[in-house]
Structures are given as structure tokens and as C-alpha cells.
Subunit: 217 residues, 2 copies
DNA sequence: CGGCATCCTCTTTGATACTG
DNA sequence: CAGTATCAAAGAGGATGCCG
């Protein structure tokens, strides 16, 4: 933890979360709420185990992550964001919005884990008709499915894993699935790019882009 | 430029701007619009000159910064953010908002340069009565003064350097000056913490906190 | 197996000196 | 002024070992 030693809010923030891997660890914790060490390691392909341990120590030390002994059925330690740590969500959201266009230049050699989809789905997708009955969509980007559920206030909830009764399921490349949910592409265009929809196509009307935050008028 | 190799917008963003010093270079360019190499180096106390050169190369390569030959009077190269680079402003703003509370724990040994104040002044301060005649306040945190000017649409503009006729000047510790402008402290409390006001105290009514961006309703 | 600690190699950083 | 060159120190990445 080297410090920039500058009296500047940005520099101070980077002193804590600017190290390599740190914000990606925060990403995993934002997705999963509680993580075991192994969940984190498998969610962060490429991280060295000693680095993960070191970063976790620093995050706990900085008060952004808590380390708790899990109740008996699990009998292991779980990691969780503190309130202060969860306040990094707008930072992760802003960086993700900025980085989204870069996904178009993917080489195809990148690692991909399906649960990563849960974060952009929560942050960038909204329910266009919150008063209508709740719907569930299962996303199957390959690997473990992600369940998307409208929650009644215009936002959507995401869960890792399949759901009992999905109103629709979407299979295909993750970026295209996201573009479909945020209406950046039409259904037919998405189909041409490898997306397959099962179930009622009308549920797609329920979803739209959640715009970037704006300064209040 | 080591890549995380993950198909994730956050990871892709960090591939480009996650290296040490990179976002602080962006900060300098957000503050100054155009910078010479020396402006950057002096605005980034602690950076090694080879690292600055290397980061600038990477930023130019990534299309976030442009390197231009300045017109004759200057006869040097100047650096400027591209549009894509300027789009990092929300990222810097989010990180700065998150990091602001950390300034309270400053040890007093940090470097401080007065022009750094120009960025939070622009990002976190608004004009509460934009229709009233424009006002100018000069901030003197020690070092070069910063001019704050209401611009008519509720936002404020900042300039490095003194102004001809200021409606008021504020001297004192930078954090306290910012807290005063965003109404986190009263004038009398600010005075106790070292702030001195010259000119018309009423102009302070013109300024208030610019709230964090919110999702539109 | 989960949760690290150690050891080793390689890369990046930081400090300083030097050049067109 | 705007960098490049050099070199020691710190950090990252990978493999493996240890302990409940």
C-alpha cells in the first residue's frame, strides 16, 4: 500500500482502491454479497493466491470488507463488503459504463464467467413498467445461469443460478444479451448475433436501459 | 500495460486506466485542459519522469490523450484529453466523492497544490441562484489563487490564477474552504478552522453542494 | 478441501543522472 | 523544456507447501 501522499480526494481514494486487483475484488463482492475465499479466487481468474490474501487483508484493514466466521453449516470464513465498501458501487458503475464500449474489441481469448453478467444487468437494466406483474428471465451465457427478476420499483434483482419458472430464457453471447436487454439491438439483430430466446418474447418489453445518473434539475 | 484478460467492462476499463498514476494524469488534464510535459510533472509530485513519459505514451496509444505541437508562441508539445478521455470525468468524480471523507484523516505531510482545488470546486459546487448576476470568488489556499465564477446555468467555472475584480476572496485550508462552499460548515465554524473571508459575505449564499448524480425518476 | 504462507522469478516502479 | 538511460527496490505472478 504505497501512498501518493497528495492532499486530494482522488489520490486518497486511489491510495485505498487503486492497487491492482482491488476493484475487481470489490466487483466480486458486489455481485455475490458474501464470498468465501475460494469463491473470490475462482471469480478472479489470473490472481495469485498470495495477492488475493494480501489485498483482502488491506481491504479489511481499510474497513471496506469484513471477515466473518460463517455459521456452522458452512464452517468457513466469509467476506462481505462493509457499508463503506458498498459505497464504491457508483465508482464501479462509472468505470463499467466507461469500459463497456471496450468489450466490442474483445479478442475472444478473454476469460468469461457467467456470474459477471449479474452486475451490469443490475446496474444498467431497468424495468420499464414496474407496476405490471413481476417477471423472471433466465440468462444462459454459457456456464451457470443468471436469473433476472423485476422487483416492483423499476429496478431488477439478479441471482446466480436457475429459477423454477422463468417467463423467458436468453442464451447467447453475454454482450449481445446485455445489448438486447438495454435495447441497443433489436431482437432480430440479436438473433443474428447468436442469441436464442425461449418463452414469451413480450417480456423483453419489460426491460430497457437504465440511463447514467444525472445531476438533479 | 498488463491486461486482466477478462471479458468484463470493469476489467477492460482498468486495463486502460488502472495503472498507477494514470488517473492522476487524467485529473491534471481535466483541471488544465491543455498541459505541457512540465505542467504535468509539477502537478504530480512524486511521479518519476520516465513513468510520466511511459504513461503518456500509453494514454496517447489508447486514444485518451492527444499530443499536439503547440502554436509558435509556446513552441512545445501540449497534451489534451480526447473526447473519449474526457468521458472519464464521471469516473474521477465518483472516485473523488468516495475519497473526500478520507481527507479528514490527512496527516499534514501530504503535498498540496492549489490548482487541485479547481476540480472539486467545479464538480461538487453549484450556483444556487443561477439567474442572479454572475459573481466571482477568489480562493487562496496558499500558492496560486483559483478563481470561481458562476456561469449562468447553475454550474461554476474555475480558472487558475487571480481575477481582476473578485466579489470575495477566501483564504485558508482547502478542505475547509470546500466545506464552506458546499455548506458543510457555517462561516463562523470555517473561521474557527482558519478561513478568512474578504469582501461581501453574501456571495457565499450563491454557492451550495452539487449533489451526487441520481438515477432519473 | 479451504485458507493462506513461502519461495522464486520476472516485471514495474522510483530515484537519479544525463541528453538533444 | 522534454524527455531517455540506468539501476536498485518493490510488487506481481506462478508453483508449491502447510495446517486445520
Amino acid at each position: 500500500m504505497r501512498s501518493y501522499g497528495q492532499l486530494c480526494a482522488l489520490a486518497k481514494a486511489l491510495d485505498l482502491v487503486g492497487d491492482r486487483w482491488t476493484l475487481l475484488i470489490v466487483r466480486e463482492l458486489l455481485i455475490r454479497e458474501t464470498c468465501r475465499y475460494t469463491d473470490l479466487r475462482s471469480g478472479l481468474p489470473g490472481i495469485a493466491t498470495n495477492l488475493l490474501a494480501e489485498r483482502l487483508d488491506e481491504l479489511v484493514e481499510a474497513g471496506l470488507v469484513s471477515r466473518e466466521a460463517a455459521p456452522p453449516p458452512i464452517a468457513t470464513t466469509v467476506y462481505r463488503l462493509t457499508d463503506r465498501g458498498r459505497q464504491l458501487e457508483p465508482v464501479v458503475e462509472a468505470l463499467g459504463r466507461w469500459g463497456a464500449p471496450l468489450l466490442a474489441t474483445a479478442t475472444g481469448k478473454e476469460a468469461f464467467l457467467s456470474h459477471w453478467l449479474a452486475l451490469p444487468a443490475r446496474l444498467y437494466v431497468r424495468d420499464t413498467t414496474p407496476k405490471a406483474p413481476s417477471v423472471r428471465v433466465e440468462l444462459r451465457p454459457g456456464g451457470e445461469p443468471i436469473t433476472l427478476e423485476t422487483v416492483g420499483d423499476g429496478s431488477v434483482r439478479t441471482r446466480i443460478g436457475a429459477t423454477g419458472h422463468a417467463d423467458a430464457t436468453l442464451e447467447g453471447p453475454p454482450q449481445v444479451v446485455l445489448h438486447l436487454l438495454t435495447r441497443k439491438v433489436t431482437l432480430s439483430a440479436a438473433r443474428k448475433r447468436g442469441v436464442r430466446l425461449h418463452g414469451d418474447p413480450k417480456v423483453l418489453r419489460r426491460f430497457g436501459p437504465k440511463p447514467a445518473a444525472q445531476a438533479p434539475a
